[in-house]
Each structure stands twice: as structure tokens, then as C-alpha cells.
């Protein structure tokens, strides 16, 4: 049996969910409310001692890391292939997954945490927050949560994240102007990772991602947004978060285009 512990179906949590639905694999969904710090609660630490979300258990075995989970799902179950057969395209898939994981993703999260998570958190009891932070197992995550909650990302850090997003978007636009999918001619886990990281950018950074500057990137997001698997993935959301992706619906895009015309 496959169980996925996840928060809202976007960013890292969205990756194994979308990969499983694309593969046609049914799984048990366990929603972990990150804003209620359920990921650091003792019950969850029994599942994943690192206290990170998502986590995936297959037949009693923990599969680590959201990008690795996607490779695992593709390798373990029957269904449509989510990794290219061609070794070079497979290399390109891994390269882009690393670029999303190490460079673009953390920069986008910094914006997300700074604007959404931090303000929501600061409305809570300060003593309780302090206790919550202290029980986070990984030092890196303790620092990240402190910075998000107390709004201590410096102006330089935010500017650097903005710069990285702009550079990454430019590079992805160039790649998608040469081929339909990130790794090549086939839809792969690099597209799943990219969509989950970047789908909010046309709203969050419209000066960087828009129909004039990045037509191929937007077309790619819209194409993925139309896949049946993403509908099922979004249906697991419990907050307003996935509603942000309504802008990818072509009918809404046409309406917006009309207003500007």
C-alpha cells in the first residue's frame, strides 16, 4: 500500500501526488497541516523523523525526498512512463529537477513564506511559536521557520531570490521554446516538479512571467493545468492556495487578454 503525507498540493507536496495520479497509482492521502505545525508533532515524527513534508510510505518502507519519490513511483508501478527512455533526456530531466530543487524552488519559497506564511504565523501566541520552533529536528528547517515567522529575510536575500527567479524563468523559457517538455519530447517528472514550483509565478511575479515575455513557459503551465491528473491533485487542497491557479485556465486567460486589448 502507498501512503502520501502531504500539505497543500503544490510545491514539494504536490510532486509525489501529481506523479502518482499521472502514473495511475491510487494512494492513501494523509493531510498534514503545516500551518498548525503537524509536521513536527510526535505522531508525524514517528513516520518521518526529519519532520519534513511530504513523506511517502510504500508497504511499510519510507521513501525520502519529494524528487526521489517521483523517480520511485515511476520505477515501482505499472503505468505511463514518467521518465524518458533516452539517457540524454533522462540526464536533462535530472539536471532540471536539481535546478528546481536547489536554485529556483528555494527562491520562490522565500517569497511565498515571506508574504503568506510569515504574516499568518505572527498572529499567534509568541511563546507557543517559540516552543514549536524549538522542537523542529533539522537545524536548517529551524532557521528557515524562524526567518519565515519573524520576517527576518533580509532585503539582500529577497533581492537575490528575485534575481534567481528571473534568471531561472529566462532559462526555462529558452528551453521550452526549443522543445515541448522540460527534458525533451516526453512529459516527465521534471515537468511535474517545475509545474508544482512555478505555477504561482504569473500571479506572484507577473513582471517576470507573462504572455509577452514568457509565452512558451505560460503555454507549458496551461498545458499541464489541463491534464486530468492535476485536477485530481488540486482536489486534495483544503485552503484557498490552489484557487490561485485559476489564472492558468485558458478561458480566464482569454478574458484577461480581452481586457488588455
Amino acid at each position: 500500500m502507498l501512503t502520501i503525507y502531504h500539505w497543500e498540493p503544490n510545491a514539494n507536496s504536490g510532486k509525489p501526488i501529481l506523479a502518482a495520479y499521472e502514473k495511475g497509482v491510487e494512494f492513501e492521502s494523509r493531510y498534514i497541516d503545516m500551518l498548525a505545525f503537524e509536521q513536527h508533532a510526535p505522531e508525524y515524527l514517528k513516520v518521518n523523523p526529519n519532520g519534513t513534508v511530504p513523506a511517502m510510505i510504500h508497504d511499510g518502507v519510507l521513501v525520502p525526498e519529494s524528487t526521489v519519490m517521483m523517480e520511485y513511483i515511476d520505477g515501482s508501478f505499472e503505468g505511463p512512463k514518467l521518465r524518458p527512455d533516452d539517457p540524454f533526456e533522462r540526464w536533462r530531466m535530472r539536471w532540471w529537477c536539481r535546478y528546481f530543487d536547489q536554485v529556483i524552488g528555494p527562491s520562490i519559497s522565500m517569497f511565498g513564506w515571506s508574504f503568506f506564511v510569515g504574516p499568518a504565523m505572527r498572529m499567534r501566541d509568541p511563546e507557543e511559536l517559540k516552543a514549536r520552533i524549538e522542537r523542529i529536528p533539522l537545524k536548517e528547517r529551524r532557521i528557515a521557520w524562524s526567518k519565515a515567522i519573524y520576517g527576518t529575510f533580509s532585503a539582500e536575500e529577497m533581492a537575490e531570490s528575485g534575481r534567481r527567479i528571473a534568471v531561472g524563468v529566462e532559462q526555462l523559457e529558452a528551453a521550452l521554446s526549443e522543445r515541448p517538455w522540460v527534458a525533451g519530447n516526453t512529459y516527465s517528472i521534471a515537468d511535474i516538479a517545475g509545474f508544482n514550483m512555478l505555477a504561482g509565478l504569473p500571479l506572484m511575479n507577473p513582471q517576470v512571467v507573462n504572455d509577452t515575455l514568457t509565452p512558451h513557459l505560460l503555454e507549458w503551465l496551461r498545458r499541464i493545468n489541463e491534464r486530468p491528473a492535476i485536477r485530481r491533485s488540486f482536489a486534495l487542497g483544503r485552503t484557498e492556495l490552489v484557487k490561485r491557479y485559476a489564472h492558468l485556465d485558458r478561458r480566464n486567460a482569454a478574458a484577461t487578454g480581452g481586457e488588455h486589448a
Binding site: 518502507v61 533522462r90 536548517e140 528551453a175
Partner: protein, 262 residues
């Protein structure tokens, strides 16, 4: 045809050298003197959209039938995908997943830390004679900001105490995890020698020299035995023998960026 552009057999450059020898693949070796900035000289390889964006610092480049492949762990995964004979990767998906999970930890925690400590110890003294204006003009050709800053730190020999402290913490964490993984098993993943051993060995081979207080017979006995087992392999021996300096464990160039989150 296979060609590998690499520097000394240490760190990221060592991984493909070991894998190529293990798989007994013929390749043409191009030795690139990284501290002399040969990889930035005019007329060096014309890179692609992906390969001109290094995510692991100064790493090796594999060329297979004209196609460029970078990122050392992904190079050895590529060799497995393209040349499945003499496999170094188990068939079970969970074991493949564990190799990739080790790779993520090694690339994001261990490699940045080892590289910082190694560059301070060995690269910084090497750059002392370089003219500041010449360095500035060389750095203009370095594509990524984190990489330019790492070269600048080595040139200025300026490493904040917190960075050194944090790097030591990460190395200690890494060797402890490796030591734990090797308790009761001769290799890191499953019951046989895999890409994960090549990945970790390439980063750890310098540690008994670089951080002897963190890796020694009393603190990490199993890790040292594993290191010795690795060095006995003919492929590892052949890869290390490609050193031109005779001291590959002292060859350091900027590696992957430290996580910006903490």
C-alpha cells in the same frame, strides 16, 4: 565516443573517473587545470544552456557522441543508463531511491562543507600570487554568482568564522550518517557496491587529511575500513593514479553552494 574533461581525481571529478574504470569504458581524458582557470580560457568547450550553469561548482564534463553531460552524480547515473553492462546500480527501485537520497545529502550538505574547508586549506594559498586585476578579469567569465564569490573568498582568503564552524558541523553530521549506514553493512546501499559508494568516497577520500579530528580510527572506524576497501578496488586505484600532482586529496576548487536557508 566518450571524453571526460576533469581536473585532479578528487571530489566531483573523481566520481566519473571511478565509474568509467569500473564499467571498463574507454574514454579520452582531457586534464583541465582548474586553479589556472583553463576551463574559462577562450576556445574552451562551447557549452549548452544547461552545462553553462554549474550547480555543483567546478565539476567535470562528460561528452558522449557530441552531447555534454554535467553534474558528477548525474554523469555516473547517465553512464548506467547509456551503458547498462557491468552495472553499479541495483534494479530495486527502493535502492535506486536511496542512492538518489544520498546524492542529495552529499551534494547539498557534505560537498559544500568539504569544499569550503578544502579551498581554505589548499586553494587559497595557491592563489596568493595571482594578480588582483587578472583575477577580476578571469572572474568575469564565471557564469554563476555563488561560484564567483567562492573564487573571490579563496583569493582573499576570507572565510567568516561562522562559515567554517557550519562547515565543520556539516562534515561531522555527514561522517556520522555514513558511519551509521556502514554499521552492519559493507556498502552504503543494499548489499553490494553501488554508485552511492562512488559518490560518497569521492567526497570523503580527502577527509582523513583535511579533518582528521572528525574522521579517524576511534570516531569513525567503519568509515575508515570502507575507505580502505574502496582504495583497494582496481578501478579506484586507476582513477587516483591519474593525479598529476601526486596529492589528489589536496586538490580543491569551489564546490556546490551552501544552502541559503541556514
Amino acid at each position: 565516443m566518450l571524453e571526460l574533461y576533469h581536473w585532479e581525481p578528487n571530489g566531483s571529478g573523481l566520481k566519473p573517473l571511478i565509474a568509467l574504470h569500473e564499467k571498463q569504458l574507454e574514454f579520452r581524458s582531457h586534464y583541465v587545470d582548474v586553479p589556472a582557470f583553463e576551463q574559462y580560457r577562450p576556445g574552451f568547450l562551447k557549452l549548452t544552456d544547461e552545462t553553462r550553469v554549474p550547480l555543483e561548482g567546478e565539476g567535470p564534463i562528460l561528452i558522449h557522441d557530441g552531447r555534454q553531460i554535467t553534474e558528477s552524480l548525474f554523469i555516473i547515473e547517465y553512464l548506467e543508463d547509456a551503458f547498462p553492462g557491468r552495472s553499479l546500480r541495483p534494479a530495486e527501485p527502493i535502492l535506486q531511491a536511496r542512492i538518489l537520497a544520498w546524492a542529495r545529502f552529499i551534494n547539498e550538505v557534505l560537498m559544500p562543507a568539504v569544499s569550503t574547508l578544502g579551498c581554505r586549506a589548499y586553494l587559497a594559498p595557491k592563489l596568493k600570487g595571482v594578480d588582483r586585476a587578472r583575477l577580476a578579469s578571469l572572474l568575469e567569465r564565471v557564469p554563476m554568482k555563488y561560484l564567483r564569490e567562492a573564487w573571490q573568498s579563496a583569493f582573499d582568503n576570507s572565510y567568516p568564522d561562522e562559515l567554517i564552524e557550519d562547515s565543520r558541523r556539516k562534515v561531522a553530521l555527514g561522517v556520522r550518517r555514513l558511519e551509521d549506514a556502514l554499521s552492519g553493512a559493507p556498502w552504503l546501499v543494499g548489499s553490494s557496491y553501488t554508485l552511492a559508494d562512488i559518490d560518497a568516497f569521492s567526497i570523503c577520500n580527502s577527509l582523513p587529511t583535511l579533518t582528521p579530528e572528525l574522521m579517524n580510527a576511534s570516531v569513525t572506524p567503519r568509515l575508515l575500513q570502507w575507505l580502505a576497501r574502496m582504495r583497494e578496488r582496481p578501478a579506484v586505484h586507476a582513477a587516483l593514479a591519474l593525479s598529476r600532482t601526486g596529492k589528489p586529496e589536496q586538490a580543491f576548487a569551489p564546490g556546490p553552494e551552501h544552502s541559503r536557508w541556514g
